[in-house]
Symmetry: C2
Amino acid sequence: MAAQSSPHAGNEPNPLLIFDALNGFARATALKAAIELEVFTFIGAGAGTAAELAKRAQTSPKGMRILCDFMVIQGFLAKQGETYGLTRDSAVFLDKKSPAYMGSAAFFLVHPTHVANFMDLTAAVRKGGTVNEQGNMGPEAPIWLEFAKWMAPISAMGSAALAQIVNTPGQGMKVLDIAAGPGAYGIAIAKLNPKAEIYGLDWKNVLALSMEHAHQAGVGDRYHGIAGSAFEVDLGNGYDLVLLPNFLHHFDHATNVKLLQRVRAVMKPGGRVATVEFVPNDDRITPATAAAFSMMMLGSTESGDAYTFKELDAMFRDAGFGESTAQELGPQTLILTKY
Amino acid sequence: MAAQSSPHAGNEPNPLLIFDALNGFARATALKAAIELEVFTFIGAGAGTAAELAKRAQTSPKGMRILCDFMVIQGFLAKQGETYGLTRDSAVFLDKKSPAYMGSAAFFLVHPTHVANFMDLTAAVRKGGTVNEQGNMGPEAPIWLEFAKWMAPISAMGSAALAQIVNTPGQGMKVLDIAAGPGAYGIAIAKLNPKAEIYGLDWKNVLALSMEHAHQAGVGDRYHGIAGSAFEVDLGNGYDLVLLPNFLHHFDHATNVKLLQRVRAVMKPGGRVATVEFVPNDDRITPATAAAFSMMMLGSTESGDAYTFKELDAMFRDAGFGESTAQELGPQTLILTKY
């Protein structure tokens, strides 16, 4: 409810922001429903009224009308008379025919297992971490495969840019991709550099997906799997580059230092680590999405957080690494750290 | 995330609005946690840093820091350096010492039973109503008592204004309050007009609360209970005024017409009905809060909706009533209908 969400709108005290926030779960589940029913895709293909959309999506006309109006209120659709249209962002990200489609993120972010982590945040605040057993973090937890499947389009967004930044053209590269997930970052490097050899590490069930994506991208012969925990499995050695996409936020400082020591031990001197994270500024309230990510970690991990650049830099230094530098990578931050 | 929520902010396609919406449940549950931990009340009483707040609320410092920063991002707290402060709205509505405190609404709106209704909105859109058995609507459902308890401060906000509007000073008034809940509207009339006799109708378990509030307000001797379903119980007769606060939105047109016929039959000719509802404009997308309320009804009722003034007027006319007029009552609308 963009127009009414500003805490400073109007001159009178207004309880609507509070009311809207308390109804926030409907915002999430309604967007998921619209994605699941392919409302944005049908509108992109020409269906304009609730009646037409209900027919195509095989829903009740009333349910579709309420859903579409709610999407207009939330800023995901436009409405002229009785006709709905896509917004700029929904055309790019929520129409299945768009190459940047990321609607599938809904199935991870509104997954019942994930939502369950947030139902008792009071207890999580008391404790300083998730109150669900292991949170999402269990080995081979089915949610990680869901995550890898559904977040693939999102990591795909930043992967080409990352590959351009870290590539060493004409030279061989031995790359370790820790918690490879859908494999996007490593695969993008392999596509750009025909001499790159990628070692993707993840849980066995997730790794099957990384490998499949590598084969689909035509780099399967240079994509090697390491199944297991990054804290325990043999990591191999001689890496020019280690990728750490969205991994450090799951753990506390001491655990990350231990991991980074393991990582440094298998790198070539002169190699680099490329970390992708949501990195809030030192004020911890900007940028909003990166700063808000700390709440996601509080609800879903034992001891994770959204770390500032200073905090990440300190972890690397405590593990023996050299200088770190930061640059924007879409809504996230790419941190390059010297051996 | 007010600053980033506008679908038209910036010139590049931006997936953050989508990401934010899919994380909407955390917005709801985090605000509930902050209310439950009395964060706003402690800040109002002078606690300023996360460390101080953690001590007072007996939480982990880390959890409190993440919670407070998240509240800043959501617009419910301010932050200067390490010190948190209340916003205008959180001072008025979320500090327990404020007379307009409405934090208790969180316990109904983020009640697990209520949230469960929204976990499969796709199916609700297909069907055109809730897919949970009876939704929230079962007789004597425990959630109605929760509702009445926790929503009391909210209905209290509009009740004094409503009483001023409908009062007939110096004259006796026999008032029927249908689905009285916490009883605020009827009690406000009884306080304003010493000759008013109020008949509050609700489920038996809820009515105990209405009666208790009437006694606390010193009007218990003029507050009478009618326990049961508004569709079945003997309503009495000879009413000058019938209150219908937040009731019609639970049902479809035909059901409401049947109810309104029952209501008209027990009124004095020349009497009035005072309906309080979230009433969207004909475009069904403004005002945002009233229009969005239709989604709450889709998820939690068999056949309810947020009705436009035209639709409400048609229900009254189909039941034999005369003219209806509408006026603002806080974030809701007061509709006065002639016999």
